[in-house]
C-alpha cells in the first residue's frame, strides 16, 4: 500500500498581502517541508446578512506562493489558501480579510531608502534631516538609493487604476512619481528611462515644476503651489497623472507605455518631510485628465 500524507495548510503572510479597488495580491508561505504540487485559493464575500461567509469561488492549480485575485470594488472578502499534493488538498489556512472599499495600499520599502532618510513609526512619512549622511563610513545595501535621497514604495503588481496622495509643505523640494524595480539606485528619479517624476524646486525667482523622464521635462508653469498632490496611475491606458487635490486641479499627465509594473517613489531634494496617504478612493475629477 502506498500512503500519501495530506499537506499542511499554508500560512498567509497578511502583512504583505495587498489590495486595490478591483483586485488583491495574496501571498503565503508553504507551511510544508515536503513538496507541494500546487495551491488553491478560496474566497467568499463577507455579508452583513449572513454570520458565516460561504466560499463561492476557487482558484486552483496555482504554482507559486502568491496570486492576484480579481475582485469587485467596495466589498469585503474572506480568503483562504490550501496546499495540494498527490494525496489531496490540505485544510484551509487561517483566512485573511481583504477590503476593496479603499484604494491601493502600499508601504515604503525601507531597504531602498537613502541613508539620509528617516521613516516615521507608522511608515508613511519620510524625513530628510539637516545633515546629509556621507556614504563612506556605512555599508549600503544594493537596494538602497545612494545619491538621490529617495525611497521606493512596494511594487504595484495589479493591473488597472491606482491612486495615492502626497502631502508636502509649500517650500518642500521633492520628486514624486513611479519607477521600475530595476531603476538605478545611484541615479536620480526622472533622470533615466526607468522612472517618471514630478519635481518641485525653489529658484531665486519662483517655484519651478518639472515632469521628468529620461532627463527631460515639458515646460509647465503653475500659479498655485500644491500642498497635497494626487497621483493617479493607470496601467491600462498608460497614464501617470498629477493633481492639486486642494483645488481639484489637473496639473500634468504622462502618457507612457509601462513595460513592467512600477513602484511609487519619493525623494527629497533638501531637508524636509513628505507624507504618503494611500488606501484612499480616487476622486471623480481625475477621470477628466
Amino acid at each position: 500500500a502506498c500512503f500519501s500524507l495530506l499537506p499542511s495548510p499554508p500560512v498567509i503572510k497578511k502583512k504583505v498581502c495587498r489590495s486595490c479597488p478591483n483586485a488583491a495580491l495574496i501571498r503565503w508561505e508553504s507551511g510544508n517541508t515536503n513538496p507541494v504540487d500546487s495551491y488553491t485559493v478560496e474566497l467568499g464575500e463577507i455579508s452583513r446578512e449572513r454570520s458565516e461567509t460561504a466560499v463561492t469561488e476557487s482558484i486552483v492549480g496555482i504554482p507559486t506562493y502568491e496570486s492576484i485575485i480579481q475582485l469587485l470594488s467596495g466589498r469585503s472578502y474572506l480568503i483562504y489558501v490550501r496546499a495540494v499534493n498527490i494525496g489531496g488538498p490540505s485544510e484551509r489556512s487561517d483566512p485573511v480579510i481583504i477590503y476593496t472599499t479603499g484604494g491601493t495600499l502600499f508601504h515604503l520599502n525601507e531597504e531602498t531608502a537613502h541613508p539620509s532618510l528617516a521613516i516615521s513609526e507608522d511608515g508613511f512619512t519620510m524625513f530628510y534631516g539637516d545633515e546629509y549622511t556621507e556614504l563612506n563610513d556605512i555599508t549600503l545595501s544594493d537596494n538602497a538609493f545612494s545619491r538621490c535621497v529617495a525611497i521606493m514604495g512596494e511594487l504595484i503588481p495589479i493591473r488597472g487604476k491606482h491612486y495615492w496622495e502626497v502631502e508636502v509643505e509649500e517650500h518642500t523640494e521633492y520628486r514624486i512619481g513611479v519607477a521600475y524595480e530595476d531603476t538605478q539606485r545611484n541615479g536620480y528619479l526622472g533622470a533615466n528611462n526607468t522612472s517618471w517624476c514630478m519635481r518641485h524646486v525653489m529658484t531665486p525667482s519662483r517655484h519651478k515644476y518639472e515632469f521628468l523622464h529620461n532627463g527631460s521635462t515639458p515646460d509647465i508653469r503653475i500659479t498655485m503651489h500644491p500642498k497635497r498632490i494626487g497621483v493617479s496611475l493607470d496601467y491600462e491606458t498608460g497614464k501617470l497623472a498629477f493633481f492639486n487635490t486642494d483645488l481639484s486641479q489637473h496639473i500634468y499627465t504622462y502618457k507612457c507605455h509601462f513595460l513592467h509594473y512600477v513602484h511609487p517613489c519619493f525623494a527629497l531634494e533638501k531637508p524636509g518631510a513628505l507624507t504618503v496617504h494611500n488606501g484612499i478612493e480616487a476622486p471623480e475629477y481625475i477621470t477628466f485628465s
Partner: protein, 253 residues
C-alpha cells in the same frame, strides 16, 4: 452675424452644456468647425460647441477692410466706444449676452452650464469674458491668447481704434489687468502656448505677464509651453481634446 454650432448626439434627448469658442484674427465661424477636430471629444462628453464669427461684416464702415488686424475679422471682443465703430462693433455684448440668449432659445442648450475658450485674439476674448463675469462661465481655457493687449502692438492698435486713446478704458478688456481685480468663484485656467509661435517671439502674446498676475492673485492657472508648435490650427487641433476634457470636468460636474 454667423455662427457655427455642433450638437452632440446627447442633445437629441436632453439639454446639454455649451462651450463657446472664440476664434482669432482673420478667422470666421468656419475655421474652428473645419480645422480643430473638436467634435469627437464634444460628442463623448455631451457638449454643444458654438463658434461665432470674429466681427460683424459688410457694415460699410470706412477702413473696416483695410487691415487684417483691425476691423473686419478683428473685433477684439470689445464694445467699441469710438464713433465710427460703436454702433456695429459690440462683440463683447454679442458674446456674453446676445448669442447665449439666441442659443438657449433655439437649441437644446442648458443656459446654466456654459464655458468659454478661444485662440489668440479669441483666447483674449475668452479670458476677459470669464474674468468680467464671475460665475457665468464654469470654465475657461485658451490657446496662445493675447494675454496683455494693452502692452502689445495688436492690442494697442485695436484698443486705440475701438476705445480711443484714454487707456483707462482699455483696462477693462485686458486679462492681465482684470486678474488683479478679480473677485469671484475659483477659476481653473488652462493655457496652451506653442513654443515656436512667431507671435510669442514678436511680443504680441505676453503670457508671462498673465502668469505673474495669477501667481500674485492666487488664481489657479496651468500654462503649458508646447515644444515644436506654432500659432496655427495644427497646434489647436493637437490639444483641443485636452481642453474639451478640461471643460467637461466642470460642465458635467
Amino acid at each position: 452675424m454667423r455662427f457655427g454650432i455642433y450638437l452632440p448626439p446627447k442633445a437629441e434627448g436632453e439639454k446639454c452644456p455649451v462651450l463657446y469658442w472664440l476664434s482669432g484674427l482673420t478667422c470666421t465661424e468656419q475655421n474652428f468647425i473645419t480645422k480643430a477636430g473638436s467634435q469627437q471629444e464634444a460628442a463623448e462628453h455631451g457638449i454643444i460647441i458654438v463658434s461665432p464669427d470674429t466681427s460683424p461684416r459688410g457694415c460699410n464702415i470706412e477702413g473696416e477692410d483695410e487691415s487684417w488686424d483691425f476691423g473686419t475679422g478683428a473685433g477684439f471682443y470689445v464694445n467699441a466706444t469710438e464713433d465710427l465703430w460703436k454702433i456695429n462693433y459690440r462683440m463683447y455684448s454679442y458674446i456674453t449676452e446676445e448669442l447665449p440668449h439666441l442659443i438657449s432659445s433655439n437649441f437644446p442648450a442648458d443656459s446654466e452650464r456654459m464655458s468659454i475658450s478661444g485662440h489668440s485674439m479669441g483666447g483674449h476674448g475668452a479670458l476677459i469674458c470669464a474674468l468680467k463675469n464671475p460665475g457665468k462661465y464654469k470654465c475657461v481655457s485658451a490657446f496662445a491668447p493675447i494675454c496683455n493687449p494693452m502692452q502689445c502692438p495688436w492690442g494697442q492698435k485695436a484698443f486705440n481704434g475701438y476705445l480711443g486713446s484714454d487707456k483707462s478704458k482699455w483696462e477693462s478688456y485686458d486679462a492681465t489687468v482684470l486678474v488683479s481685480t478679480y473677485s469671484g468663484p475659483q477659476l481653473d485656467i488652462l493655457i496652451d502656448q506653442g513654443r515656436d509661435d512667431q507671435f510669442l517671439a514678436a511680443g504680441q502674446l505676453l503670457p508671462d505677464n498673465l502668469i505673474a498676475a495669477c501667481t500674485e492673485k492666487k488664481i489657479p492657472l496651468v500654462f503649458r509651453l508646447q515644444q515644436g508648435y506654432d500659432h496655427s490650427y495644427y497646434f489647436v487641433c493637437s490639444f483641443i481634446s485636452n481642453h474639451v476634457k478640461h471643460h467637461a470636468k466642470y460642465l458635467n460636474a
